[in-house]
């Protein structure tokens, strides 16, 4: 199965700019399908970015976050060639992890 995570991390000076796109339905639990039945809630709860064994970014998400969410942030440190580990866990206990290389 292809990864649900797309990451682009670019080191610029003493910090690293990170962008990520995650494929996830992010169903809130309040929407009905075409038969009028509620679509059960299914959303990412925790998203983390790890660099050099240290968590540099944590997002606590919930039902109000849009489908296929996009996130952008910067952290101090990181250099070209380093690994950046991204992982998410959702309310159904599913998860995915991906490791990206920081670009120069």
């Amino acid at each position: 199965m292809p990864s649900t995570i797309r990451v682009r991390a670019v080191a610029a000076g003493d910090s690293t700019d990170v962008q990520a796109l995650i494929q996830h339905p992010m169903d809130s639990g309040f929407v009905k399908d075409s038969d009028g039945k509620l679509i059960p809630p299914h959303y990412i709860e925790v998203l983390t970015f790890e660099h050099d064994g240290k968590v540099v970014f944590t997002a606590l998400w919930g039902p109000a976050v849009a489908k296929d969410p996009y996130v952008k942030f910067a952290f101090k440190g990181g250099k070209s060639g380093d690994d950046l580990k991204v992982s998410w866990t959702d309310n159904l206990g599913k998860s995915d992890t991906s490791v990206a290389k920081i670009m120069g």
């Binding site: 292809p2 682009r8 849009a66 296929d68 996009y70």
Partner: protein, 284 residues
């Protein structure tokens, strides 16, 4: 205003030969001349836009939107669909054959030749229709139109054809000419409670705002399909755009792949000959 003047002028010019030979003028269709006039008008509306950029719709004619789009394109929202489409395209059917066996050049780099007029069956064949006929010929169920897997497969096939200019042909066949004429009539006919034609928005008002949206010029508009529309939150095919356009002017949409829509796609793609394929696209 300018478009209104042009219309009146065109009417006055057309009325003269019409008086002399009414039946002759009505029966004679000249797609090549229509295409020339269509393209000259679009280029004169947007003289600064290069031909290749017309496949980028609203971003070709609006600088602030283009800037946002360029940022979005660092992570194209259709990326996941593209992956899904490629996987489906390459996965063999139960009988061992695959999509590639149904198309010339194994289905790679051929998006710009669709839709085409099939002289054997006497009808316009779109890419979506060809995909589903391919499935049926290989014992698979046809896919639902408008969104989902069919849009993903479209996306992959379009992506392999990027940069190739639309190359739609109208064979020397009265049925092909009739299909073209039907498509043309659809495009210019006002419909719905709002009484808009396709041309009202995408020719006359192209580049202007419709609430928060910028109207894309009709010239080259299909080059970007299928599209991921943020408004939809998913992929959509040409059918999805046609049906939603029709609903928006408060008319009753046709069924996907109805003859009316296929003929419209035929006309519109023929008008855009020369514009390179940019699909899959991303639209607000």
């Amino acid at each position: 205003m300018r478009a209104g003047h042009l219309c009146r002028l065109a009417f006055a010019v057309a009325a003269l030969p019409g008086l002399i030979g009414l039946t002759h003028a009505a029966a004679k269709a000249d797609p090549a001349a229509d295409q020339h006039a269509f393209q000259v008008y679009a280029r004169s509306q947007f003289p600064a836009v290069p031909l290749a950029d017309f496949g980028n719709g609203p971003y070709a004619v609006n600088a602030p939107m283009r800037k946002q789009w360029e940022e979005i394109m660092q992570f194209p929202p259709y990326d996941f669909a593209l992956d899904e489409g490629k996987a489906a395209f390459e996965k063999p059917f139960a009988n061992g054959r695959s999509y590639g066996d149904c198309f010339p050049n194994k289905g790679i780099g051929i998006r710009q030749t669709f839709p085409y007029f099939d002289t054997a069956t006497g009808e316009v064949v779109t890419l979506d229709l060809a995909i589903n006929r391919c499935r049926e010929a290989n014992g698979e169920k046809p896919l639902p139109y408008q969104t989902g897997l069919i849009a993903s497969i479209d996306a992959y096939m379009a992506e392999t054809s990027r940069g190739k200019p639309f190359d739609i042909k109208i064979p020397d066949d009265p049925r092909a000419l009739a299909a073209y004429q039907d498509g043309k009539r659809f495009f210019y006919t006002r419909r719905g409670q709002l009484n808009f034609s396709c041309a009202s928005c995408h020719v006359q008002a192209a580049g202007q705002r419709l609430r928060g949206d910028i109207l894309a010029p009709a010239f080259g508009i299909l080059a970007a399909f299928p599209i991921y529309r943020s408004d939809w939150g998913s992929m959509g095919t040409i059918d999805r755009r046609f049906t939603s356009c029709n609903s928006q002017v408060r008319s009753v949409p046709f069924k996907p792949q109805d003859k009316a829509y296929r003929d419209l796609e035929y006309f519109l793609s023929y008008m855009s000959n020369g514009v390179p394929i940019t699909g899959p696209g991303a639209r607000p």
